[in-house]
Symmetry: C2
DNA sequence: GAACGTCTACTCGGATAACTCATGTCCGAGTGATTTTGG
DNA sequence: CCAAAATCACTCGGACATGAGTTATCCGAGTAGACGTTC
């Protein structure tokens, strides 16, 4: 049960975009150069964020990606779900149906107590992620690392070399 | 981020074993026949549970697997960890180290606020799973489905054929 | 000088390989019960 | 009849194929800006 590596990239990239002036787009190439990531593959992850409605893409010169809505309205769960998919980690295969007394007309994803327990854990995980917004993260980072916002903005607008 | 299918098998198998008289061993073949699972592969999962100290294996005729300790002392987290491994789903690759101002002497798994948030969610998930023991599950199932304990015991001891 | 048409360069977007890890299977080592044989 | 030893069948245990999903890459479609040309 390992999470895709693209989740980390997506989270950091989205957080970095919160420091840009609204409406300003950043190309996938610059976002990738920020952490030395493979450009094409990061682009793929950003496309997933576009499909999820978190980012908005702009074609042509001066184009790129920008946040589709305010950082206050984007939770960590939104980003994780966009990359990993909405289905929960534990998928009940309803093996009780094959056991003694198993019935075909029963939904064991609801009836099975093991399935219920696993879903409770999954909900706790989701609740924790849904309670954190990009805006809260941006503020926390700004407090602890005051130089980060400016450095990030400069490097995203005009990368070195 | 999908969980291994063996987790479901392991959970149900361990729960079924709680209804056997203590010290009684069940072969992997009978546990597999219970839900129509592939015997060899279930055996592989049970071996992982043995390595984790949850089960104890007995060789030879009348051998098999049995719980290594009381159901009150086995949590769902124990079983899940035994199959999936102890490392958390989100593994911080410390990409901040490659960014501007990144330092090699900083552990970004601790310093990165994104990493912290993901770890909080992971801990919430683990806490939920650690709060459920096999004994609690066994009691809940016995209350809701009174026939299950007897049916399970009979079928594990003498499967139809 | 201004407006229009063309052209270019830059961007995303999806289709296409390579590789890792989970899935699935097999046969050998070990062991305890059973049977057989001798006293 | 009893005991001891050899046999045997059953079990786990790890080593070996297979397949799906993630990782990684590439090139084409589309677009906005820039340039040159013309009125």
């Amino acid at each position: 049960m390992k999470m895709a590596e693209g989740v980390e990239w997506a989270l950091h990239s989205c957080l970095n975009m919160t420091w840009l002036q609204p409406g300003r787009a950043v190309s996938a190439a610059r976002l990738a150069a920020f952490y030395g990531l493979p450009t094409a593959y990061l682009n793929k992850q950003l496309q997933a964020l576009v499909r999820a409605g978190i980012l908005r893409s702009v074609s042509g010169p001066r184009g790129g990606f920008r946040l589709a809505r305010a950082p206050e309205e984007i939770t960590l769960l939104d980003v994780v779900t966009a990359i990993e998919g909405a289905e929960e980690a534990f998928r009940c295969a309803q093996i009780l149906r094959q056991g003694p007394g198993g019935r075909a007309d029963v939904d064991y994803r609801q009836a099975c107590l093991i399935s219920q327990a696993m879903r409770r854990a999954d909900l706790a995980w989701r609740r924790e992620l849904a309670g954190q917004t990009l805006a809260q993260l941006r503020e926390a980072v700004g407090d602890r690392y005051p130089d980060t916002p400016r450095n990030t903005r400069e490097r995203l607008v005009a990368p070195p070399s």
